[in-house]
Symmetry: C2
Subunit: 573 residues, 2 copies
Amino acid sequence: MPDTVKLAEYLFTRLKQLGIGAIHGVPGDFNLTLLDYVEPAGLQWVGNANELNAGYAADGYARIKGVGALITTFGVGELSAINAIAGAYAERAAVVHIVGTPDRSIQDGRILVHHTFNDGEFGRFAKMAAHVTVAQADLKDPRTSPEHIDFVLTQCLLHSRPVYIQVPVDMVSVPVAADRLQSELRLPLAEPTTYSDGVIEKVLEKIYQAKQPTILVDGESRSCGIVELVQQLVDVTGWPSWTTGFGWGLLDETKPNVYGVYRGRFDTPTVDTFIQGSDLVLFFGPHFSTTNSYNSTSVPKTEAGIHISHTEIKIGGQIFRDIPAKLAIAQILKKLDPSKATAYATPPDLARPHVESYTEALKDKPITQASFWPMASKLVQAGDILLGETGSASHGCRDFSLPQHVRTFLPVTWLSIGYMLGAAQGAALAQRELIASSQYHGITSARTILFIGDGSFQMTVQELGTIIRHRLNVTVILINNDGYTIERVIHGLKQGYNDVAAWRYLQAPSLFGADEGTFTAKVATLGELQGLLENDAMSKVEGFKMVEVIMDREDVPVGLMTWLLEKQLKTLN
Amino acid sequence: MPDTVKLAEYLFTRLKQLGIGAIHGVPGDFNLTLLDYVEPAGLQWVGNANELNAGYAADGYARIKGVGALITTFGVGELSAINAIAGAYAERAAVVHIVGTPDRSIQDGRILVHHTFNDGEFGRFAKMAAHVTVAQADLKDPRTSPEHIDFVLTQCLLHSRPVYIQVPVDMVSVPVAADRLQSELRLPLAEPTTYSDGVIEKVLEKIYQAKQPTILVDGESRSCGIVELVQQLVDVTGWPSWTTGFGWGLLDETKPNVYGVYRGRFDTPTVDTFIQGSDLVLFFGPHFSTTNSYNSTSVPKTEAGIHISHTEIKIGGQIFRDIPAKLAIAQILKKLDPSKATAYATPPDLARPHVESYTEALKDKPITQASFWPMASKLVQAGDILLGETGSASHGCRDFSLPQHVRTFLPVTWLSIGYMLGAAQGAALAQRELIASSQYHGITSARTILFIGDGSFQMTVQELGTIIRHRLNVTVILINNDGYTIERVIHGLKQGYNDVAAWRYLQAPSLFGADEGTFTAKVATLGELQGLLENDAMSKVEGFKMVEVIMDREDVPVGLMTWLLEKQLKTLN
């Protein structure tokens, strides 16, 4: 290895070492020279239609591969992406946001260049970014840049949250010391101590004492890096286990003791009573937003809960800091004597009844939310990625029984509609890379399936062009229910402001460059839906497909949304 | 008038009084109850496809009507729009950004609701907004809200820059004192003083002494509110007058002494020598970004310049504060004795030669940038709004000779590509409102014409749906030159990262809901272009139209862009 490399080479080599295979983003005049180094570093340049979508895509990619990156330009580009970065911060996606900035001489000289407020001030955007990132670097000194990059990337991985790196144009090709590149970045690992051993002992005591224990797996289990360890614990104990919406797909639902998403008071009374009646809920990677916890009703009662999270363990409300989840569960697994823990003779009968909704007699009936989701469940195969956009799609699809190794995206906390379309692009690309490098559980063929409402689809529609251009295996299932139904059931059921423009949705693939013959279909009756599901072309995972499903604007999936709808209907009477 | 009104009524009454007729934005659960009050207040709700576009549209609307507004929701919505707000700040568009926020009880209770970082902190987004707005209000106290609203709106108008108003859900319908509504907001006016009279005397001395005086009108003349007064001065003096790109259209170019856009060293030597040889340049509303000043080459030399701006006058480099442009020019006009000023016998012969590019012999030639713009010039009629998106479009269209009352949008400082499509929606709506209320110079029919490149078009394409849904008179002329040509000529002429996805652009109107029979056309040869320009359907201003013009990816308009291209070509040799 040479003594020095160019700064851009250093940065991209690090990204490559972290497992990043592709960088999202949009070119702009302050990042063009930086982009010269992307492909020579062995990274793919995606080239999104706009920066917000690029940010969403980098987030989706990061959630599948662990870390993602995007490059934007100073001011206009980075601010367009900032909502996506904020979402990655809220929901813990490790996104490296690299921004090309003006030459240091322009900044120091306070030149009134474009993409500024014409006042010689260049620091504002970094101040804004600091609110939504865990670490920041403005690479203006070749002497410190390598160490600074390493520090920032380490923070990104450690917290699984976005970071912000500014690269002035004239820094791109300056030589920097290359020696650090010889060893890959290593995250600081927590080692067991007398203190942590004591805490783990307390956890084990609780485990051995519990009469009706359960396990609840939330989405931060992924960012804690404990998904496989949690599955081991679920298998070893055989305890009844659920996920939250955020954690959905992290457990193997084909196991008899794994029951899908726990929905708090919107769940079946049997399930809700069982979990809230548990004297121990081992709660991994908890994420307590009201959306993810069904208005806090799925949070276990304090005295029963053991929360194992990024940096601490909480036992019955008492916090023990600086025991990261990875250390905690590794020690639990190591020290656990399963014979001393409660064993369920057979897994309790807590599964939701399987609804078989279609019969030939119903073929001319319009598609309803109640009938659609159980039927659509069959689309999902092992290894697929499933996205249910904020709105009725996200509530409907969680009725699916998941095959193995299906990763899901549901609204958790940030809930920026349109996110899922961008995220689908990034996730599908990550999925393809994992398959290509044989890191995908032995699965060699899979696709990304997006369920999305019309209002959300309109937000970020141009990213279909990126999906098509990169020939990603993405199937878009558009729920056309004539506007923002999720908003209607919250407020303004009949108000015009919840309408959206009337598009001819199935023309989208052609506009955005899809090959002639690309699969599209529009279904409005149950018979048409059944035909679609039996269509071989639909079952094939390769390439881009789009389906438009017509539903009523005031029809919603059973559960939280019907509860909201009923409240709205009462205000109208 | 009642003693109290609801807070939302107060706010919207104020907006209506300011001349706002329509509010842009996107519904979200924290702003839905607020939206209930929009139409009852006599305001139109636009309902954009996404928030960034809504922000662009509100900005475009504001530049035509003086002030605009948009409503977004907490976190996700406002951050998606923040790049548009930043652009309005940079280029002085008075945009009122209203954000619906969670109930005060949720905020005070630090509840972990969606659209937060799940940490009970509700103040981050306001801190971010403070960087890009001139005043902010978080309306949490019914006792102070009316005065606070008035203060913030006054700042918006005074600086012609965006402001930020947060309205918690539970504040929307609280009663507030109505008495202030009885008088409309009045901006503080500067009155002449002995000090200001002395400065104006200095200006008049310079005017009387000047041998070769000129006038230069920049875009902040609009936000200073002096456009008509400047025209009076141009008429009274008969002095040769130019605009900058930002100021283009603010002067009546049908007058013999008005010559269009001054392009610094990229202008004809005759023009450049004349202006730089002037011993007095009266420079109104200066805005010195490098883009707007052709890399600072169109800035008059210090000793000759008198800069009249928002708050001060600068004479030969010496600053006299607190003399706003409106006061300054009113006093100059009042005190000027034209007989004591240099009069040009006839306007100097400084007009650029009119290029007649089309002859029948050329009909099979491909369309080039050099041939296109002189031909396309004919499209623009009195009262039209002309937008030339950042890129080749913005450089090409400034060769047009403008009819009366044409307002233009060119890249000035912010240069966020995609802006112009959103801005076209807002501008066209403002134009329609002005025509409908007979406030449009007696013009009863006009349209908004957008020239935009393919890369920019992809950024914000979904706003075509809004243009179509509201039946706005917008003609989109898409320059399809296969990627980001503006970036290619800056860096990476042959690089793949300057490519964009290959769309079938003319399918866009149909996807986005245009009536069957909506006018579309694709032209690649000069004969086809000529046919288009002679087509009656194209000349009609009503409704939506779209034209795709095919040009070469390495062809650019003569001037700054050819200079850049030549530099790029040299790096390749």
